[in-house]
């Protein structure tokens, strides 16, 4: 084996330093959530305990985090389903150029890069202006879609760019109706990307703060609740919450990865399942 160039060691050292920077806060959260009952927000640790995790389950210590957690969960699922459905529809529509497709593409990019606080203000105002109650499941839902949909659509554009249309033509030649082509050919082929879009949609929504800030009304989502805690809670209970929500996110990703694995596995065993449902 030829000796590695000097640049390899240099880059590796840089990468390690970078990982320390990137993971410093995550590790801090993980370690300090096990802080002893008398300990504070910084090192040193004063003993090791599960005290702060227990505190999470006591209403008076942390307020309404479980309520906000379930709201965030429901909202995340709503955003996820809508993002997947609309992205697929948008992706299908975008395969042919149409009048205004460039304008729409620009709008998507703009919506993606505009500071969230502006969207939040705009959507919040549209609801209060038209007299509708500002609520996390209506205005909050709308504001979050301005963030997750562009992501979903851009992913679907990339997917359909590479999509081999001869599969569809073959299906049509064999007598499939347009709906059957989509149901039995297109969707199974793009299924793994759809899971990616779903995962994106869920996690972007679940962690979204600024866009929900002015649009959630009187019931907070989890990030808003956490923001409230950052200003008035000064104990490691916040870190315990961070650890717990991270574990939860990892579980969600784990489930998604498992689904992808199962899909691939089934496909490998059966060959493509495209058209199986027609028998």
């Amino acid at each position: 084996m030829e000796p590695r160039p000097k640049s390899f060691y240099f880059l590796s050292a840089f990468f390690v330093l970078f990982l320390v920077f990137l993971y410093g806060p995550t590790l801090t959260i993980g370690i300090l959530s096990f802080q002893g009952p008398g300990g504070g927000l910084t090192f040193p640790m004063r003993g090791v305990s599960l005290h702060w995790f227990r505190d999470l389950f006591e209403q008076q210590a942390v307020g309404d985090i479980w309520g906000s957690f379930s709201r965030s969960l429901v909202l995340g699922l709503m955003v996820m389903v809508t993002t997947v459905v609309v992205s697929v529809m948008g992706g299908l529509a975008f395969r042919k150029r149409f009048a205004g497709s460039t304008v729409l593409f620009y709008l998507i990019i703009t919506s993606l890069v505009i500071p969230s606080i502006l969207i939040s203000l705009g959507v919040g105002l549209i609801w209060s202006q038209s007299g509708l109650p500002v609520h996390w499941s209506s205005s909050g839902f709308g504001a979050q879609l301005t963030w997750t949909l562009p992501f979903g659509l851009l992913i679907m554009f990339a997917v359909f760019n590479r999509f081999d249309r001869s599969y569809e033509e073959a299906a049509r030649d064999l007598g499939a109706s347009p709906w059957q082509v989509i149901r039995h050919v297109v969707l199974p082929i793009i299924a793994p990307s759809l899971i990616g879009v779903a995962l994106f949609g869920f996690t972007l929504s679940y962690d979204e703060f600024a866009r929900t800030l002015l649009t959630s009304g009187s019931y907070n989502t989890l990030p808003l609740e956490i923001f409230g805690m950052t200003t008035n809670v000064t104990t490691p209970v916040l870190f315990a919450l961070g650890t717990l929500t991270t574990v939860f996110s990892l579980l969600v990703i784990g489930i998604f990865l498992l689904v992808v694995w199962l899909l691939n596995h089934r496909r490998a065993r059966q060959g493509s399942d495209a058209g199986k449902g027609m028998v």
Partner: protein, 291 residues
């Protein structure tokens, strides 16, 4: 027919949740503050023409009179610019290292860059308080090493805001640059070296220009959201940190002056339109180049 319906869905969504809000924001920026619900006047209830007659540019004049606002714009632009530069300086070598790494390591390295995202953003930023405060981890470490005698003041300064922004937005810089470098044909570098370039020259004359699109995309993805950033300056910055996102939030919630908050937002949007148009041009050119 069905196609038209398919196209209509994203259009309607963008119109309803993106363009109309801005029309409303603009309208409110021309209104006056009032002690009512909603807290501004005139409204649609007064009839369309009465409403139009009640609009004026008073709030925009107010923004130019109080120097808090333009100072906040300038300091936001400054913070966004330098943190983008810092993010590029840190992110480029990272992306380069990832693209140079053996093929089988790359997915793992990519995963390592993305993984911290699964912890709540707010709590991660909050954790920096524990690291940067005067009795925090960083100061204790430096004191232990004997590099400093008394704790450094980092928290509640602009330095902490820079650290926070670079930390939060690094992946947005790394991923587009990595995508550009990953596609780069290694034989081009060999060719440059065969033709007498030193390694550094080849890097400067071949690698950097070929990753230009990734650099541009990364810079926009960091600069634009950093300009309106609200969470990082309010958690890590001090009373001296002026950022327009924070001003907007305070006008809206603390002062309940929606007309001024809307005027602040309209000007921020105008400032952003220029980089957004540049960004779109670049995207379009990429799309054309890829055919």
């Amino acid at each position: 027919m069905r196609r038209a319906a398919l196209i209509a869905v994203p259009y309607v969504w963008l119109l309803a949740l993106f363009l109309i809000p801005f029309v409303i924001v603009f309208k409110i920026s021309l209104s006056d503050i009032a002690l009512a619900i909603p807290p501004y006047t005139p409204t649609m209830k007064d009839g369309f023409w009465t409403m139009v007659q009640g609009l004026d540019f008073e709030n925009f004049v107010f923004l130019t009179e109080d120097d808090l606002y333009w100072k906040a714009y300038v300091s936001s632009l400054q913070i966004a610019f330098f943190s983008t530069l810092l993010t590029l300086l840190v992110g480029y070598p990272m992306a380069y290292a990832m693209a140079r790494a053996p093929e089988e390591w790359r997915p793992t390295l990519m995963m390592l860059v993305i993984l911290p995202f699964w912890t709540s953003f707010l709590i991660r930023v909050y954790a920096w308080i524990g690291i940067l405060s005067s009795e925090g981890f960083l100061n204790q470490f430096l004191l232990w090493l004997g590099l400093i005698d008394s704790p450094l003041t980092v928290l509640n300064t602009n330095t902490a805001v820079y650290i926070g922004i670079v930390y939060t937005y690094l992946p947005f810089m790394i991923l587009p640059i990595y995508a550009a470098l990953d596609r780069l044909d290694g034989s081009l570098i060999e060719a440059a070296e065969d033709l007498g370039c030193s390694r550094l020259q080849a890097f400067w004359l071949v690698t950097i220009p070929l990753s230009k699109n990734g650099i541009i995309a990364g810079c926009f993805l960091v600069f634009i959201p950093a300009l309106g950033e609200f969470v990082i300056p309010s958690l890590l910055g001090g009373s001296g940190t002026l950022m327009i996102g924070k001003v907007l939030f305070e006008e809206f919630f603390s002062n309940r002056d929606w007309p001024v908050a809307s005027a602040v937002a309209v000007i921020l949007l105008l400032i952003l339109i220029i980089p957004i148009i540049l960004f779109q041009r670049n995207e379009q050119r990429n799309a054309e180049a890829e055919g």
